[in-house]
């Protein structure tokens, strides 16, 4: 990791304070005010909007393989997604995804 200790603590503190302010916004400062429906509608999709973008390069061009497509990682990601959709359970998705990754890696590698 290419950050100084000071930079790391700036990141940790800024993220801590910023996250607190987001959580405190309406409870503490803005009070009992109604949010406009269009804004609520957008906020509903923040997590599901950002996390898939985060996953994409990690699955399709991972650093660990020097940025080339790795069938084991792609297949394991598909298994994890499928199990997650089917069971609606995050833990089973992780267990099956990492399980496939290690099993396929041992079989093919």
């Amino acid at each position: 990791m290419s950050y100084s200790d000071a930079q790391l603590w700036v990141i940790i503190l800024a993220l801590g304070v910023g996250t607190f302010l987001i959580r405190f916004s309406f409870l503490g400062i803005l009070g009992n005010r109604e949010l406009p429906p269009w804004l609520l509608r957008h906020l509903r999709y923040t997590a599901v909007g950002i996390l898939p973008a985060m996953v994409t390069p990690l699955v399709l061009w991972p650093e660990a393989t020097g940025g080339t497509l790795d069938p084991v990682r792609v297949a394991s990601a598909v298994v994890g997604l499928g199990v997650g959709l089917w069971t609606k359970n995050a833990i089973w998705a992780i267990v099956s995804g990492m399980g496939s990754f290690w099993a396929l890696g041992a079989l093919l590698g």
């Binding site: 990791m1 790391l8 985060m54």
Partner: protein
């Protein structure tokens, strides 16, 4: 109503939250492991876990730091993942807004996915409860969740230091994100947002400083909201 009813509400909160310890512990553990493998020291990993208490954004920050993104981009992207909590805050304000300032501040600090979901469900199911009871229930849900999250991370640091690098734990990060996304794909609008997010990440991958992440997130939010609006208009 008897004077002990906030106490009863507190106990109800604790028992409602207990099953969710099973969900929280593995994420905390994994953050401890992955954070240690990424090169953070004990104080830094615990700093994230205690000050931020938001797994998805902590993993986002970790991944962007592994990519060497500028400090501002790391913070902005990880905060963007937490924007949904403004919605949690707004939705709890009518129920907890009368409580003393320090209680609202403490509740805000512990307003995570699980405590929010449990508290909101309780307030809708029992509209007749008093304000102190509602706050007591909220603190009840946080009582098992927060210490388990922090404790699991500490165990993860210790486990992570002992694991061999050959395990390919870098892959645990995308798998964890996939595990968080999949159960959330409940409606066509959620699916549309997720697909937009993936397509934009591929198309915009050339942008510097990981700006593709914020751009893809923004585009996906707009698509999700628009699909939801059209689905409702059709009803």
């Amino acid at each position: 109503m008897s004077a002990s009813s906030p106490r009863a509400a507190y106990r109800r909160g604790v028992s409602a939250a207990l099953p969710f310890v099973i969900v929280v512990a593995p994420f905390g553990l994994l953050f401890g492991v992955v954070g240690t493998e990424a090169g953070l020291d004990i104080a830094q990993v615990m700093g994230f876990t205690v000050l931020v208490i938001a797994g998805a954004s902590q993993f986002t920050a970790l991944q962007l730091m592994a990519d060497g993104a500028p400090t501002l981009i790391v913070v902005a992207s990880a905060l963007a993942v937490n924007l949904r909590m403004a919605m949690y805050s707004a939705s709890l304000a009518p129920y907890l807004g009368q409580a003393p300032f320090w209680q609202r501040a403490l509740a805000a600090y512990m307003n995570v996915d699980q405590t929010y979901a449990l508290a909101h469900a309780e307030y809708e199911a029992r509209p007749a409860t008093t304000a102190p009871e509602r706050m007591a229930f909220f603190f009840g849900t946080a009582t098992p969740i927060i210490p388990v999250w922090v404790g699991a991370t500490a165990v993860g640091i210790w486990v992570g230091a002992a694991l061999p690098p050959a395990l390919g734990l870098d892959f645990a990060v995308p798998i964890t994100f996939i595990a968080l996304i999949a159960p959330a794909l409940r409606t066509l609008a959620h699916v549309a947002a997720a697909v937009t997010s993936v397509v934009m990440a591929i198309l915009l991958g050339f942008l510097p400083w990981n700006l593709w992440l914020l751009a893809a997130g923004l585009a996906a939010m707009i698509v999700g909201a628009e699909v939801e609006r059209r689905m409702e208009a059709r009803r």
